[in-house]
Amino acid sequence: MTSLRSRAGTAALAAVPLLALAVFFLYPVGGMLARGFWPEGSFAPGRVLEVLARPRVHRVLWFTLWSAAAATAVAIVTGVPVAFALHRLRFPGRDLVRALVVVPFVLPTVVVGVAFRQLIAPSGPLGRLGLDGTATAIVAALVFFNVSVVVRTVGSFWEAIDPRREEAAAALGASPAQVFRTVTLPALLPGIVSAASVVFLFCATSFGVVLTMGGLRYANVETEIYLLTTQELDLTGAAALSVLQVLVISALLALSARVRRSVVPVDRTTKRVPRPRRAHLPVLAWTAAVVVFLMAPLASLVVASLRRGESWGLQNYRALGTTGERNALLVPATQGLANSLQVALVASLLALSLGAAVAFLVSRPGGGRPTAVLDGLFMLPLGVSAVTVGFGFLITLDRPPLDLRTSPMLIPIAQAMVALPLVVRTVGPVLRSVDDRQRQAASSLGAGPLRVLLTVDLPVAWRSLLAAAGFAFAVSLGEFGATSFLARDDRPTLPVVIYRLIGHPGAENFGMAMAASVVLAATTAAVMFAVQRLRVGSMGAF
């Protein structure tokens, strides 16, 4: 009976986020897949299989796999030393660098694509490298977006390693290389694997990067779904590729869950990390080089934002209060920023409340398999094509009681679905680190359940809740994929405004697009910097 009641309670708590996921994710995606599997009203799985036999599909799949694998490998090699420098050393300006490193991850690809291309186009400062339109450029851009995931995830694992173990090994005569190989690396490995799986996930489903950097010579599964859906209206082909995508991603999530289960990186003690010594110079130099790599496209944005035609100055920033040259915009760019902030506020609150509920459930001790499935289920939105979700919204949420197509809630909801996995992965490990015996002790001393939550869980989790909210806020600010496919009314977000400006001729519009991008990047960096001040060990760890 008691067990029954407990299950009922858990089920009730799980019901709200599950319902949201079902209505706002599974149902729309299912709707699009159904259109592909039932092309003329009758079930035709044979046609889906035919698509998978197309030689072009094989080429696309192969490119997806190798570009994602290469980008993942490079991101790991690039990011691990940076993780050490930013999480195991203490130097002035470290928090600022940590915040800057995250900015690329939340910038809209449409902005970064243009910024990146201005650098590597034959006329750009790096033009001599001949990278423009090559697969190398695509991989470099993927690395640019995802290094921060490696730095954060591996960094939080690194913080959790007790330095005394390494010191003991060294005292027993191990060389620094031996210490790293026998003590540090085994402890980091789950973090590295977990970061690698998520980076692979992001790379394999990246869309804007491949489209912009690849100059159409290269296609991955995501861009192919986009072309099949938006241009050719080949829904059967799109459905086949979407199913393939979901299968690959589920397998990947299952694999990473297995590795991740062993160690939980949470550092709740605030031990002082050392200042850098001479031996750390190579690592610091590497970190500086990586920061330069990450900042170069942003610097080219700033330069472009200060120029209009041949003249230099702040006129592009002043023009943000207007609708651009010849009414390129429906509302002034500043209104776009205000809309973005409002949408991000609602989206992050939604993501936070749903994500906290899921995190609470997956962090209960003894959850077993259902918990793992629940955890994986809420990661799925990261791995499904934004085109499929966006078009799915349009064809499924079109009738009362769920007629949301023209609702201003549509975009916050879509963005909340994207930010949800990040919230779960930020708050979950922190709640899991609470020793359940503390709650039992509080309970046996007469504390009511709410009081237990407030006095045991909340004091530990509040920083991570705030941090998750901030992260969700930043992700929502930069979200462009799903947003751009949904009905846009007269309240566009800033990334959509930038996209419109860049698509209209005129030096003023181009300059305004650059200035608006800088504003977006700066806003994001400010939010991330504030989150950074909270010092949450496992921020954004996957």
Binding site: G9, S123, T212, R326, R399
Partner: protein
């Protein structure tokens, strides 16, 4: 332990559910006022789905409101292709009352898929007859404006190099112009598709061979117009390194330097594909008469005259005066290429597949 867990869980359910509901309510409340589409009084609002290039000054729309009492809500839905495909996917429960921005490369798809209702306007200016859709669906789509997609060249660049600028499609494949041309892709960009159709109209079955030569001559393909014009084109915002680009015949006036009177670029009028944009009433529209009134209004002099400055397109009413800089530097092509819309719809997938194979490695 189980008991404790359960008693602890329930208040959390209450707390979290309350928080979620509160968020939803707050979210709906803060912006519920601007919800569009199906308001109580459907005849007073009109939802029009458009392509992303929609831009119109507030005065013009205010004049429509004053005249008819109808408020127009514009919903940009992507480029012409995305717009058409979204309408096809949602035809059982339309996104809007009417549509503006389906062009002659997608018109047949919209007509064949039955997303539109017929409307025979009486407001069509005499000059617009030439732009009407032929055959099926002529009564469903009303031409509003047109534009010419043409190769643009940077005169300053060619003058500095002492090379004469190219003039024709064939020139682009000559060794003298190797590596100088950039075009947005036909699969991802609507001017890109228009340029492909120009070559198909010009070369017939020889278009594959033409593209093979074009690619061998170092042509660069980008995903979108903005990428080609603003990054690679020498006269664009990014000061690129290619002096020839696929753009519009209306682009040159944008390259008039500050304080000067002459543009630094011009359009090659022998390389143009004519895009005609249509408006129509959607089947299942909540306000069909409102959309009919709006179509008539779009054909009126005020709207037609505002088209060049806001959307960089030519009015179908050719008696409307063009802005001065347009009359000088943005002339439409005297003999543009065209491909019948029904032929485009029949062959699009095949053409695009072949084009992709020729242009990708």
């Amino acid at each position: 332990m189980r008991t404790r867990l359960s008693t602890r869980v329930r208040p959390c359910v209450v707390a979290l559910s309350t928080l979620m509901v509160a968020t939803f309510v707050a979210g709906c409340g803060q912006s519920g006022g601007s919800s569009g589409g199906s308001s109580a009084d459907d005849s007073k609002t009109l939802v029009v789905a458009t392509h992303d290039s929609w831009a119109m000054s507030g005065d013009v729309l205010a004049a429509f409101r004053k005249k008819t009492g109808i408020t127009v809500k514009v919903q940009p839905q992507g480029d012409a292709g995305q717009l058409t495909n979204k309408l096809v996917l949602t035809k059982d429960s339309p996104l809007a009352d009417g549509v503006y921005g389906i062009d002659n490369t997608f018109a047949s798809r919209a007509v064949d898929e039955g997303v539109l209702s017929p409307y025979a306007t009486t407001a069509l200016p005499r000059s617009a007859a030439a732009f009407r859709l032929q055959g099926d669906g002529a009564d469903q789509l009303t031409p509003v404006d047109y534009s010419d997609v043409c190769v643009n060249v940077d005169d300053t660049w060619f003058a500095a190099k002492g090379i004469p600028a190219p003039r024709t499609l064939d020139d682009l494949t000559k060794p003298a112009y190797k590596g100088l041309f950039v075009t947005p892709g036909a699969t991802t960009s609507s001017p890109g598709l228009a340029f492909l159709l120009a070559t198909i109209a010009a070369k017939g079955d020889g278009w594959r061979d033409y593209w093979t030569r074009l690619m061998a001559n170092g042509t660069k393909i980008t995903s979108g117009w903005s990428d080609a014009y603003e990054v690679d084109f020498t006269a664009g915002g990014g000061k690129g390194d290619r002096p020839a680009v696929t753009s519009y015949s209306s682009s040159p006036p944008f390259t008039i330097p500050e304080g000067k009177t002459q543009p630094t670029t011009h359009a090659l009028l022998d390389t143009c594909f004519r895009q005609v944009e249509y408006a129509g009433v959607l089947k299942g529209s909540k306000n069909p008469t409102g959309m009919q009134e709006f179509i008539d209004f779009m054909l009126g002099r005020q709207f037609q005259a505002a088209l060049p400055d806001n959307m960089y397109v030519y009015p179908v009413d050719t008696s409307v005066r063009l802005p001065e800089s347009w009359a000088k530097f943005a002339k439409a092509s005297p003999k543009p290429y065209s491909v019948a819309p029904s032929e485009v719809t029949r062959n699009r997938t095949e053409w695009l597949r072949e084009w992709r194979d020729i242009t990708s490695q």
